[in-house]
Symmetry: C2
Subunit: 95 residues, 2 copies
DNA sequence: CTTTTTGTTAAGCATTTAATTAAGTAACAA
DNA sequence: TTGTTACTTAATTAAATGCTTAACAAAAAG
């Protein structure tokens, strides 16, 4: 079973922003610290952290703090929940 | 080739609302008129039409008007574009 | 022709979102 | 112990969202 029932509202909302999708693309290659995730973007660090909070609230990303570094990782189960919903709607009721 | 390059911002934004996902579930069973789509919901007709506009802007739904009836249909290619993005991120860089 | 059905357009309002800057905290380094 | 790094928290602001009601338009039915 999944740890938490997926909230598709939060998941799709998190996915709707290009900055957040770019962060997910980075995290799909492996875990990263907050400042490493922030580096490619021109926005302030607090703005990046707010995007990260949206990703965590949706379950798409989890993080753990060790010392002063917060390390973030992608949660593939949450991606899978969204993918599954789309797949089901795409194939159901097909002509 | 696809008719229009998919805009993932608009697609995921459209998917982020439960009313719009419910409309897509209905349309996955076959085309429907605006008022038929509106029937299950308690909100006003203009509100439903605004949701429909979000779905059309994203390419997830198309519609055609004949007489006074606008018939809406699901666009499976747009669903597929979102599904594909998720699939790629879920499987890339896997440990 | 008048009425009903089906949708469209416009204006307004409450809430949420995405960003900012400023100030604070805690770990580690010199 | 004095900075520097890596975030964190809070307060503000501007724009976008999701609704509402009211008014309009055009097709179909009586």
């Amino acid at each position: 079973m999944l740890n938490k029932k997926p909230d598709l509202d939060l998941i799709f909302q998190a996915l709707a922003d290009p900055t957040r999708r770019a962060m997910l693309e980075r995290l799909s290659q492996g875990p990263a610290a907050v400042s490493e995730l922030a580096r490619p973007f021109e926005m302030s660090l607090p703005a990046v952290v707010q995007h990260l909070q949206a990703l965590e609230a949706s379950g798409l990303v989890s993080s753990e703090k060790v010392g002063r570094v917060r390390t973030c990782r992608i949660e593939r189960d949450a991606l899978g929940a969204a993918e599954h919903w789309l797949h089901a709607r795409r194939l159901s009721g097909e002509a």
